[in-house]
Symmetry: C2
Subunit: 572 residues, 2 copies
């Protein structure tokens, strides 16, 4: 157990002495608040939870529970995102201990520390500022004399101006034609999040049949594609399908040294030259840190910046997502997306767990993982537009909380992050739901649904629309998983007692998407804080990089590595 | 424990009395062989395995082990697929008991029963004949006087002829133009497998820079797309991007009653009419069973048939995959794919586990699941072309073996199918590998790699090509997972002892893809036989369908279902 003093501005508390650490140059009044970091199994709540029993869903899940077990985000412009936990195996007693856990682990105070710019990425000695990319939660944060909120806003403004110039045809391809396509070249956090967000909003923006909501019918301004894998076939496939001569490329690498991304840049440059472009880097913009090798080159058309305080997997709301989304859809769509995320962040500051959906979701997940012993969680959006959202969450969650040491580097004695997987419904129903219903492990489920489709193209067939069928399936699955069904034939028996939650809203708009993203980011953050680990580093990716470099070098290798390299054709 | 007599032709055994069950009209000599179905935990091997300890990979994994722990498929035309298990936590003692397990559970005899047309889908009283769609393993199988192998071949020939007519422009769209696009409309097994196979071969067929292998450079004959989800946005997205007036649609539903597929047909018909097509069903072909409502309609352009003995998730090598793959790439590509699958099937008949990669993979998986206690398995192809292969395996494995009762419907007392998930490398490295390396659960890994890229478009950057970097990463990961790394900083410590296997070949060709598919199908089959369950039914999907129908009807609902339906806008 470690006791340390941390500095945070908490509204409602009295202000006391000013900040004295020169590394932490908050430019405003702050207060001293005592925050303690302790392992989860050292809390009183941990011991209390060990003694509690999960309620039976088939016993408790009635209509009243469905209407009452609901916690909502108000997102502005009359948009709302709801979190329903009626089909989770919790009761008032469990929820009350989970509230104690939240208080005991000081989750809200620690979130305020993060939002205030505290160096909560302890191992790497970095602040954690993705919340600040969409709005200010807890006073401004300055670093080496610069207001970082203003810096992120400035990058967004520069992107908005740049996108406007491209859309207006004032910035063109080398041949003078307007750009028709934008291709993001990045991997991991520079790929999965922006790609998932792009796919989630594409139909919304392109719909020509909608009911007049904000961005409907405007149409994509540039068609977007993504290259990520170092496998050359990934780039080959995309580069074959586009016209490089009218394509704008976005090279995304915070460090400016990501092997996959620079290798793919080489492939892109090669194709641009083949297409007759004489100065190929003048059709490339960079999103990188100001100190990276990419930023220092004047060969590129332009560069937009992030910094070390934005983790890759949390960068969708920074310039990493901003460039491609603004170029594809317009900067106003990206701004709505940020506003939705900011509204959800603000709601995550609430200390009462029943009024804070992200916190509640996090704590129920802890209950399922550490006390019910469930090894994985399925994310199941009933929306084809969210087809890659589960892959993004898989990264965000598993890379953040797949850790075996606490924030001080001590081995932990309890389970941390689960495996996350998922596919859109109803597709999943025809795939892996068999195991979810009747397998020997119980997998908690996270459903996502929308009352309306994005596009509006729909038909009535056999008495209902596709959208009605989609949501009828979703409602039916929640109940089938929760309540099961007895049958004289054990093969047709459903044991039920498979817990699920439901996030839902009227439509999948930019604002709702931003809130959904922030919901999961904050859920993962709260879980990491309960487990007392650092959710913001990723030391587990280093060893593979080191060994890869060895294989590509010419020094002596571990004999088994030598043989595997040989049989894969890399070394002889 | 159940004892029954089953009928099977096993080469090398003496023939005895003829088949007497009128339901099972084998048209050839058969022998009586005693096959026993017993639960896994009733075997001697189960008890023996409980006493064994997994070896330490950092202790045993040397260069010699890498070259010796290899089992290969010879696929004809000088193509080979290798299965390397050097980095699995098995030793000679464990392998020897796994051989005993295979013998004791009569896995090869039972595979022969399946291949011979025995009614091994016991609950549904169906044969299991997907192997027969690609070749004959154990004598012909006849049903109601029809030779089923000949029937499947006939469908393939009809598809080949039809595809040839389309490619030659003799079968055209209503407006007289040649078809430019083919869109498969299906869900689950009618979608995931064919889609994954299409993506896996697209670059191979389209490459214009390759080294002259069989199908390189021919180019896709029709561009293929897929509509699956009942979410109307799925169809909207695809239908916006194609020209319906020159698109051929394939409606795939074995029963001819799949809700999602018929709903999407209504959307397709609507779009075809909007595009001015007067007889829209004349731009649709069906893949269905001969007795389905779809087969009975003369409105469609044509129909191709499967039967009840081809399970949806095993249908990629039937007309379900054959129609779209033959139309997109040509029937010769599809035939190569079948030949690769057949070669792998034939190899799976081998009783010695070290010479039978699918069987060995299955048994090592059993060791990991039931004795090492690992809850899930990651499938990690280092090939972007295989991006949807893990999703297909997720369906095939989890729907087949996610069961809690044995084949006689009795509750099982041991774990069955694990959660399957995965994404292509190197993308996964930048996503969830953190948890795989340093999380609190151990997840066994199934790597797939190829010496060459499909397309051939590649560049040398910083001393190596993209393909070399890709495979250097793959080799490095195997060793990093197996051996880990000690460090004074526990946060930089890798415990290692994360087992993995590697399937690899020279290139991802149609033949190799067929073998990979069959490898996993047969692996899942063998595991189901060890667990003594029916891998070929899916009772777990029924309850959701029943409740969905209730929601879409107007009868009274379970009160919680009523409320969930209301908040999702389906009922008020």
């Amino acid at each position: 157990m470690q006791r340390r003093l941390a500095l945070v501005k908490i509204p409602g508390f009295e202000y006391s002495e000013a900040h004295s650490d020169p590394l932490r140059d908050f430019n405003e009044e702050i207060i001293m608040s005592e925050v303690q970091f302790r392992n989860f199994d050292e809390t009183k709540a941990y011991k209390a939870l060990q003694k509690l029993q999960a309620p039976s869903l088939s016993a408790v899940l009635d209509g009243k529970r469905v209407t009452s077990c609901n916690s909502s985000y108000e997102l502005g412009k009359q948009e709302t995102l709801h979190y329903n936990y009626a089909a989770k195996q919790v009761d008032n007693q469990i929820l009350s201990v989970l509230q104690e856990l939240s208080d005991e682990q000081q989750l809200i105070d620690k979130f305020r520390l993060i939002a205030s710019g505290e160096y909560m990425n302890s191992g790497e000695n970095r602040r954690v500022l993705h919340h600040l990319t969409r709005g200010q939660l807890a006073g401004s944060v300055s670093h080496e004399g610069r207001d970082l909120g203003a810096f992120y806003n400035e990058q967004n403004s520069r992107i908005a101006d740049f996108a406007e110039e491209v859309h207006a045809g004032r910035i063109t391809a080398e041949n003078g034609k307007p750009f028709s396509t934008v291709v993001q070249v990045g991997i991991g956090g520079s790929d999965l999040g922006p790609r998932a967000m792009y796919l989630a909003l594409k139909n919304h923006v392109n719909s020509s049949e909608g009911s007049g909501e904000a961005f409907r019918g405007r149409g994509e301004k540039l068609n977007a594609r993504f290259i990520s894998n170092v496998d050359p076939d990934d780039a080959a496939d995309i580069l074959r399908e586009i016209d490089p001569s009218t394509t704008l490329f976005i090279l995304v690498s915070k460090s400016g040294t990501t092997q996959e991304t620079l290798t793919n840049e080489a492939l892109v440059l090669d194709r641009l030259k083949h297409a007759g472009v004489k100065q190929p880097r003048k059709q490339i913009i960079c999103v990188t840190s100001e100190t990276s090798p990419l930023a220092k080159s004047s060969e590129y058309l332009d560069s937009f910046f992030i910094d070390d305080f934005i983790g890759g997997r949390y960068s969708s709301t920074s310039a990493v997502g901003g460039a491609v989304l603004s170029l594809a859809f317009g900067a106003d769509v990206f701004r709505e997306f940020l506003d939705g995320a900011h509204a959800a962040d603000a709601a995550a500051m609430e200390a009462g767990i029943l009024k804070n959906p992200a916190l509640l979701d996090a704590l129920i997940g802890i209950w399922e993982r550490n006390f019910q012993g469930f090894p994985s969680t399925a994310v199941l959006p009933y929306s084809q537009a969210m087809s890659r959202f589960p892959a993004h969450l898989q990264q965000m969650d598993m890379e953040s909380n797949g850790k075996h040491v606490n924030r001080d580097g001590e081995q932990l004695g309890y389970l941390t992050g689960p495996v996350i997987f998922g596919e859109p419904g109803t597709n999943g129903q025809h795939s892996f739901y068999q195991l979810l219903h009747q397998g020997t492990d119980i997998i908690p489920l996270q459903f996502i649904g929308f009352l309306n489709s994005q596009d509006g193209l729909d038909v009535n067939w056999e008495g209902s629309t596709s959208q009605q069928k989609l949501n009828a399936n979703l409602a039916a699955q929640i109940i089938a998983f929760a309540k099961g069904k007895k049958d004289d034939n054990p093969n047709k028996t459903f044991q039920g007692e498979r817990p699920s939650s439901l996030l839902y809203s009227k439509s999948l708009t930019p604002r709702v998407l931003g809130a959904l993203l922030a919901h999961f980011e904050n859920k993962v953050m709260f879980q990491g804080l309960v487990w007392n680990l650092n959710s913001f580093d990723q030391e587990g990716v280093q060893l593979g990089k080191v060994l890869t470099k060895q294989v590509l070098g010419d020094g002596e290798l571990d004999p088994a590595l030598q043989e595997f390299s040989a049989l894969l054709g890399v070394r002889s």
